[in-house]
Amino acid sequence: MDRSSLSSRSVQWAFLALAAGAWYLATATGSVSRLFLPPPREVFTALVALVQTNAFWSAVLVTASTVAKAYVLALIIGILAGYLVSRSKLAVATIEPVISGLFTIPITLFFPMFILFFGVGTGSKVAYGATYAFFPIALNTIAAFANMEQRYLLAAQSMGGNRWQIFRYVLMPGALPVLFTGLRIGFFICLASVLGGETISSVAGVGRNIALTAELMEPGRMFAWISFVVCMSVVLNLLAFSFENRIRAR
């Protein structure tokens, strides 16, 4: 790690420490009601108790499998659609603006329809998460393949590469960094949509439990669930970034 990334890393840690300190102070001085924000110690105790229950792990399993299904769907459809669109200039000019236009609509508005179509079970959350994640994946796939510099393709052609070889050795590796950014953004949108969907209307999963503990006025347990999700997101994000960097460095 060089100097500048070391210092930016320490700023990030300082920010985290500051937020934790503010949390502690706000609750210790009693300036924020325990009902809205319990002190860190209470949340930690609740979290330790929570991870020892079976209910916790079955909820995590429901959410994880919902996210996985939604993501794989979005991945397949998004990459396939994006690649097909990228193959024709006309398609890029006409379809790409439509996809990016649709992406600006808050799809949350249609969440009740997902419930109507797919029921209150995990099916609606799979469909909802897949729909949301489709957009960044498709858009980045189009950008990755359509913006390939012409000179590389021309050079590959003049060297006698056939269509498959040009795809495998030129188009694919050239597109991978941008493609992967889409996959990363898509994953976190998928995660957020599934959790959001579960919070609004569902029968199981992490989001459902957060909504439930809020209704039951159990802030300690609610924040325990939330801190679990935050920790998981941070870990997944770090993993995704290190994977992405490895792809770029190649």
Partner: protein, 275 residues
């Protein structure tokens, strides 16, 4: 000419290239009925003002596209708008080294595309890299090299595939004068050693005179060959060639031929209706 057929490497016959529909006012006639024969082992420069269609002609010979009319034949085979990678290698204006591969991997890809057995890849690549003095950079990524080094490697990649014909589209355009001169010497050396046929597009008068056996001077758009100048000095040429009176005479001759064409091109750029 007919009995010399076997010595002709590239034969360009009545090539006309129009971009856009002829009935439209914005269509551009890039090449107007150009014919040229290039002998085996010859170094021919296409020299002309920008936009005169010299790169277009190179792309027609390389089979990157089909001309509006006319034909290009390479070693007796009609090019017909398809690349012939077994006969022709291209070196483009900008480095076309794939940035996601190391230098040596770039060579491997080129050799793989040409269908050359894997066992030969390393030897060929290293020989070509040694020829341009870049052997120690084989494991570097293109981004880790300077522009001059990249273009050196790019040129070496064109050489390593061992086609008889090398088409070079302003390969030194992005380089500084000094690097250009050194690479020019390398190229002259290479020509003497390998006997490749090279067609080289350039703006630079000195480059054209230093490298060419013959210089095809183009007119402003629509491009036609105005004159062909012979440079009767054997390869490899040493830098001393540039100090000979013959060198400046030829350079001046090229300049005199080009001057009016450059003015015509500039007038065209200022006011499209002028010509």
């Amino acid at each position: 000419m007919q009995n010399n057929q076997d010595k002709i490497a590239i034969s360009i016959r009545n090539v006309t290239q129009r971009f856009g529909d002829a009935s439209q006012p914005d269509s551009v006639l890039a090449l107007d009925n150009v014919s040229l024969d290039i002998k085996k082992g010859e170094f021919v420069c296409l020299l002309g003002p920008s936009g005169c269609g010299k790169s277009t002609l190179l792309n027609v010979v390389g089979g990157l596209f089909k001309p509006t009319s006319g034909t290009a034949t390479v070693e007796g085979r009609l090019v017909d708008g398809k690349p012939h990678p077994d006969k022709i290698a291209f070196v483009f204006q900008e480095s076309t080294l794939f940035p996601w591969y190391t230098v040596i991997e770039n060579f491997h890809i080129a050799l793989k595309f040409q269908g050359i057995p894997k066992a030969e890849w390393d030897d060929r690549a290293m020989a070509a890299l040694r020829a341009v003095g870049m052997a120690s950079f084989a494991r570097h990524y293109p981004d880790q090299l300077s522009v001059g080094m990249r273009q050196r490697v790019n040129m070496a990649r064109g050489i390593c595939v061992k086609t008889d014909i090398l088409l070079m589209d302003e390969p030194f355009a992005a380089l500084d004068e000094q690097t250009r001169m050194v690479l020019g010497e390398d190229l002259s050396q290479l020509l003497a050693e390998t006997g490749k046929t090279i067609v080289f597009v350039t703006h630079s008068l000195s480059e054209a005179v230093f490298l060419s056996d013959r210089i095809a001077v183009f007119t402003a758009r629509p491009g036609k060959i105005k004159t062909i100048i012979d440079v009767d000095t054997p390869h490899p040429r040493s830098p001393d060639f540039m100090l000979e009176p013959k060198f400046s005479e030829l350079r001046n001759e090229c300049y005199a031929l080009l001057r009016d064409e450059i003015r015509a091109t500039m007038a065209l750029q200022r006011d499209p209706q002028a010509v």
